[in-house]
Subunit: 96 residues, 4 copies
């Protein structure tokens, strides 16, 4: 049985899985509450990241340059080198 | 002293706060590693949320409607009622 | 020939497609300028949309409810009806 | 009078501003249709930008590096230079 589907309410079902209006209310509530909790955590993490950048700025670091560093650290060393070479070539081609 | 600022390297400084090229390398590394760790956690949470919606769909629930429910649960009951009243009025005005 | 690729500079090429540092500078410049122009337009449109919502608010409309209407107008009438039915069922199941 | 507000329907009002259910239906419809049109344009622009990057890739250019170039062109020359200097210092401090 797919719990979320409409189904005939059955007496024996009710204790573990109370079906209100034909759906598995407990299952639905669990899904929604877990999503809400995870979204709260995501929001908290976004706030923590923002706080670290505020701290970095207060300590005299350049936040944009830190973001560049974080971008570079996600790449393989060979990729970093290749991108730098290309960036130089493109800049010279454009005269910037 | 603002650690991230350029400053004269001093011998006595080096053990606790090695300044490479005139900046507080340890402080910078700590900032970057903390941001990277939090961004990893955010990505993991986004994956967890996606998994729950996949579970919800497999269980026969409508994911769009669950998102509506989550939106409504963020509002005060009076706000929900007001929005519903207005939605009805606007829909009637537009003939939809 | 792929214009962006590195290639041997040739005298005859230079007038129509000046290759600086081995790449097709004009082609690169054209690509970049077109992207920049389109991004400008996108930003302008985002501003225009914001202005309309400001106008709507000044005229006494509820902006959140207008967004709901816009969401509903993207759906087929049968989908709207199905979502409303499910929303009612889920709300009753959750007691909200 | 704020057009979107609830107000007493009046006979003389109806020709220019038919108030259905007490709201300015024409005004509401105009707002919604303008937002929808602008959102369509935004979506079209996003598609156009994607097409240009596809073209750039086919022409042998590196799309990530083009994005770097676009980022740099938004800055003043002095800012570009400052960011490059800092990037070098931070990278040396981190040993990357």
């Amino acid at each position: 049985m797919l719990d979320g589907q409409f189904h005939e309410g059955q007496g024996g079902d009710t204790d573990t899985d109370p079906a209100v209006g034909g759906i598995a209310a407990d299952r639905l509530r669990s899904i929604i509450e877990r999503v809400e909790r995870l979204e709260e955590e995501r929001k908290a993490l976004a706030g923590d990241i923002k706080d670290i950048f505020t701290e970095a700025k207060s300590a005299g670091f350049d936040v944009k340059v830190i973001r560049q560093i974080i971008r570079l650290r996600k790449l393989e060393p060979a990729e970093v080198e290749e991108q730098e070479t290309l960036l130089d070539i493109y800049r010279r081609a454009l005269g910037i």
